[in-house]
């Protein structure tokens, strides 16, 4: 949703030059308190409703996850995990999956289309669909496996953190719909502070490893989780333990791009220099005479030469 002003854009995919820096804005964050989630999927429904998305009906896959995975029209998805700790009881870990809005977004880094992915000053990472060329590089860049490219229009889609609502001073639709207060929205500072209180509470109730998931490998995220088992994020339907932009993507989009172009340019220049210094290799009249003679008189013996 391209409703924010260009003054609010701090990063723009495949673009050079400095972003506008005159405006200061607070960083926002969505805090998902997994310990308070009851798995009602109101957030999923609200997301569909606000963003006017109607994913295709799927089949039952033997799990509460419905649909089975994120797709171009499902930008947030409750993922259910049945976890049995050593003491034998059962924990139902329910994580609302979706874009994490990384401070250092791998999708934006990988994107080759100018302006198809932008990062706003408040921290939201947004896909500008009309500029998307459908290459799928964002899928390779994302450490969280979030973007989904549509088979119909070949555009990539993901959660916008309701950037249109936020720009109008509203909270995201999922936050609005959550009946238990498991999803909160505010400044990143406030959310971090509130998460600290929640973590203390969880620790006092026996979750010794409770903590905030705000992975620093991607510079922190603007969607954060309160986890009862913050020491093992991957328990929660494969949430990456230490997400970071893959080194292969870093090499591809970082070092290699300028080095490759410089090497190619240098080779072309080397050719030019060779031409100037050594000159072209031209056939001489005596070559023509010798060549014709060989064709007319027969091959003769090979010259003994090195």
């Amino acid at each position: 949703m391209a409703n924010e002003q260009s003054l609010d854009i701090v990063r723009r995919s495949a673009s050079t030059g400095d972003p506008p820096d005159i405006r200061k804005e607070q960083q926002v964050a969505k805090l998902i308190d997994v310990s308070r989630c009851i798995g009602c999927k109101a957030c999923q429904a609200a997301c569909m409703e606000w963003n006017n998305l109607r994913p295709e009906m799927e089949h039952f896959e033997g799990s509460y996850d419905n649909p089975a995975d994120l797709n171009p029209a499902t930008w947030t998805l409750m993922r259910f995990t049945e976890y049995e700790p050593e003491d034998g009881h059962l924990e139902w870990l329910i994580r609302k999956d979706g874009c994490m809005h990384c401070a250092d977004p791998g999708c934006l880094k990988a994107c080759p289309a100018p302006g198809a992915i932008v990062q706003y000053r408040n921290g939201i990472v947004d896909f500008i669909s009309e500029a998307c060329i459908g290459c799928g590089y964002c899928v390779k860049g994302c450490p969280f496996n979030i973007p989904r490219v549509s088979k119909v229009d070949h555009k990539s889609y993901k959660c916008s953190l309701c950037s249109d609502r936020v720009s109008a001073g509203l909270e995201p639709a999922c936050v609005k719909a959550c009946p238990t207060g498991a999803i909160l929205f505010g400044t990143k500072e406030d959310m971090t502070q509130w998460a600290g209180e929640r973590v203390e509470d969880l620790k006092s109730r026996g979750y010794a490893h409770a903590g905030l998931y705000d992975p620093q490998g991607v510079g922190g995220t603007h969607v954060m989780y309160v986890l009862h088992h913050a020491d093992r994020p991957s328990l929660y339907a494969g949430l990456p333990d230490k997400p970071k932009i893959d080194p292969l993507v870093q090499a591809w989009k970082g070092v290699f791009k300028p080095v490759a172009l410089a090497a190619l340019a240098a080779t072309a220049v080397a050719g030019f220099v060779h031409w100037v210094v050594r000159g072209p290799n031209e056939v001489q009249p005596e070559d023509e005479a010798a060549g014709r003679k060989m064709l007319d008189d027969g091959p003769g013996k090979p010259e003994a030469k090195q």
């Binding site: 495949a14 590089y137 496996n145 050719g271």
Partner: protein
């Protein structure tokens, strides 16, 4: 082939058509591919009708290139097998670069540099084709894991830079060694060109073996 005096036939019309089709495709692939490689070159996508169109057509160029190059490969592979003379020729590369060909071993239809271009193109096209399939998301997105695609996209761009490098060498060599382009344009070279650069080949021709 009809032989005009002093002209030596080198490429049949079919061979030339095959070469130039391959060349055109390689250039189209380079232009559309570079547009997705570096932001500063995104403007190249407008040659193809915009970013989406460039993204969509690039792999199809690749498919046609593979077919066209396959024909070229079987046409030329026999003359591009590496021999001991080629190793000696490479040993004398300084003399080659200095335009002192009298110090270089006699060359058959192709010299070692040309053979390296041939094999470089061959291997790089194969690498580019298969790594390209992995990242051709319009049809093959679900067949490989994201980690595999990350490897493929890096391999694809390194191989692409390498093949453009080979292409620059190929083009420069054909311009530097005067009279070479004529062979691929008109199909024949002068007897003097053959004498100077491919004497072993000319000798075989004079013997009636070619």
């Amino acid at each position: 082939m009809r032989r005009e005096r002093g002209a030596v036939p080198r490429y049949t019309p079919l061979a030339r058509a095959n070469h130039w089709l391959t060349a055109a495709l390689l250039i189209l692939l380079a232009l559309s591919g570079l547009s997705m490689f570096h932001p500063g070159l995104f403007f190249l996508s407008h040659l193809f009708g915009g970013g989406e169109a460039a993204r969509a057509i690039h792999p199809w160029f690749g498919v046609v290139l593979l077919a066209s190059f396959a024909l070229l490969f079987f046409r030329f592979v026999g003359d591009n097998l590496w021999s001991r003379d080629d190793t000696r020729w490479m040993g004398a590369i300084r003399s080659v670069m200095a335009n002192e060909e009298e110090k270089v071993p006699e060359v058959d239809r192709y010299n070692a540099g040309q053979k390296l271009v041939f094999w470089g193109m061959t291997w790089l096209i194969l690498i580019l084709f298969f790594s390209g399939l992995v990242i051709w998301d319009a049809y093959f997105a679900t067949y490989t894991a994201i980690e595999t695609k990350r490897i493929a996209v890096l391999v694809h761009s390194v191989a692409a830079a390498a093949i453009i490098w080979v292409w620059i060498v190929h083009v420069y060599a054909s311009l530097w060694v005067r009279g070479t382009v004529r062979g691929m344009m008109r199909g024949s070279v002068t007897a003097g060109w053959a004498w100077r650069h491919h004497r072993k080949w000319l000798r075989a021709m004079a013997r009636g073996e070619r």
